[in-house]
């Protein structure tokens, strides 16, 4: 059985300034499977919180009715166009990253990522990370509203078939503060802790973890979504 839990919390910097959370989270049950999206609005632009929310909505509106994922490039293009059409402002004023995962009940999964953040998975018992580690510095990223190239996207098809399979989507406010070489252990821990709880308690547990973030001086919004087998 595939389950999902996720949460998004406002970072201390935005809380101190009275600004809203610029990350967005979308998590929906979908034909007995799960659909998840996390998005990080670029802090340098005034309406990026709007872009991130509309990006998550676009994932739901485009992927939910889709009958097939056999052409991910066309699907990503449709998703991007949908986001552009739904934006009431110029895209350059509301850029955002996007990580998404769509899982069918049999474990057949489509994952895609544009920009910073980490999408890590354990599929068929094998661990992987969708996109390579960032080479530059923080907050210098590809994003909806900035990148128009298909080459900027990372897309894969997975099968969450083994009992301990899971995947996690995280914005960089969270992933940048994690030990980079322990992502596999982190995902195992997440799956174990979430699977031991009801969905509501898993969400509460995730929220408490993010609200008690221990990295000194952390500032950014933090968003996480976990899809796991139980």
């Amino acid at each position: 059985m595939l389950l999902a839990a996720g949460v998004s919390v406002r970072g201390p910097a935005h809380a101190d300034n009275g600004e809203c959370n610029q990350d967005a989270l979308g998590l929906w049950g979908w034909r007995q499977g799960q659909l998840a999206a996390v998005s990080d609005g670029l802090g340098s632009r005034p309406l990026s919180h709007l872009g991130s929310r509309l990006a998550c909505q676009a994932v739901r509106q485009v992927l939910r009715p889709a009958a097939s994922w056999d052409d991910p490039k066309a699907m990503v293009g449709q998703l991007y166009r949908h986001w552009l059409q739904s934006l009431p402002v110029a895209p350059s004023r509301a850029p955002c990253t996007l990580l998404l995962a769509a899982c069918r009940p049999d474990g057949d999964t489509l994952v895609a990522q544009l920009g910073d953040g980490v999408l890590a998975y354990r599929a068929g018992g094998r661990f992987g990370v969708l996109a390579p580690a960032r080479s530059g510095f923080s907050n210098q990223t590809e994003a909806l509203g900035i990148s128009r190239s298909w080459d900027s996207w990372h897309v894969a098809r997975l099968r969450l078939s083994a009992p301990a399979d899971a995947l996690v989507l995280m914005t960089d406010g969270l992933s940048d503060d994690l030990e980079p070489h322990r992502t596999d252990d982190f995902l195992r821990m997440l799956r174990r802790e979430c699977a031991a709880r009801s969905r509501r308690r898993a969400r509460t547990w995730l929220r408490r973890q993010l609200e008690a973030w221990p990295t000194p001086g952390h500032a950014d919004d933090k968003t996480i979504a976990v899809i796991y087998r139980r």
Partner: protein, 277 residues
């Protein structure tokens, strides 16, 4: 099942449980538990095992670094009119201010590359400001090998071990009072083309009228901070105070990667520093 049998069964069930809540303990002790069992109320803590690991077991315990790398001209001409003394004093002041800045959301790191004589050198390796307890005075002598300093800065910025990718966008500050004496253009082009070093914010200060402002203008890439001209020793202090404030401002803002610009305050009221270049 009679009532007495039911009560006995109820008590034995509590005894067998791993987790017994205080209220239930009390009832068992006082013998009032019989017939007062509330189904479902005591089950959640038994279903949910205590978490053995938390996210904090996987997090980095250090703040994100914000590197500030100063490229300081240490050529012979800097020894004239108290320029090098003013620079040494301003740098020490900047490091001290960074170290005492308590509001920051980042670990401000400082590195110093000097270029004088026949080569550039990493005079102060990149380190957290609060760990730099004293800075040796920069000696000024010889030529102005700016190209070597730019190449050294590029290597440092490209080093993922020294500057991890979670670091905020670094700041490069170039200070010079003369003409470069080596091939600086290929080194600047290499910096501008490099994957990481090209993303650093670059600021520059020209000291005195002999400084090659064209070189410094090509180096500077921060539109909010055009090349600053220092004509007096106190101007060097003004510039570094502005750099200090700009960096400190970035570290407390919601977006530490945005350039904060340079806001130049009034010249310090210190007659001893009032030397014309």
């Amino acid at each position: 099942m009679g009532f007495a049998k039911y009560a006995e069964d109820d008590l034995s069930r509590y005894h067998a449980a791993t987790v017994i809540r205080d209220r239930e303990h009390e009832r068992l002790k006082t013998g009032t538990g019989a017939g007062h069992h509330q189904p479902g109320k005591g089950t959640s803590s038994m279903q949910e095992p205590a978490a053995k690991q938390r996210m904090k077991d996987f997090t980095i315990a250090k703040p994100r670094p914000l590197p500030v790398i100063v490229l300081a001209d240490a050529s012979g001409s800097m020894s004239e009119n108290g320029k090098i003394e003013a620079l040494n004093h301003a740098l020490a002041d900047m490091v001290k201010t960074f170290a005492s800045e308590a509001r920051v959301r980042a670990e401000i790191q400082v590195g110093l590359i000097t270029f004088g004589g026949s080569q550039a050198e990493l005079f102060v390796p990149l380190a957290p400001a609060h760990q730099i307890h004293s800075m040796a005075a920069i000696p000024a002598a010889g030529a102005t090998p700016l190209g070597q300093a730019l190449a050294l800065a590029t290597r440092l910025l490209e080093d993922h071990d020294r500057i991890p990718s979670r670091a905020y966008r670094p700041v490069l500050v170039l200070v010079s009072d003369g003409l470069p004496t080596d091939e600086w253009e290929p080194a600047l082009a290499a910096l501008e083309k490099s994957e990481r070093a090209s993303k650093a914010t670059r600021m520059a200060m020209a000291i005195g009228d002999d400084a090659d402002e064209q070189v410094l203008s090509r180096f500077a890439n921060d539109r909010e901070a055009p090349v600053f001209r220092a004509h007096q020793a106190r101007d060097i202090h003004r510039f570094f105070r502005a750099v200090t404030m700009s960096v400190a401002e970035r570290t407390v803002s919601a977006n530490p990667d945005l350039p904060a610009g340079l806001v130049l305050g009034a010249a310090p009221d210190d007659e001893a520093l009032d030397l014309d270049f």
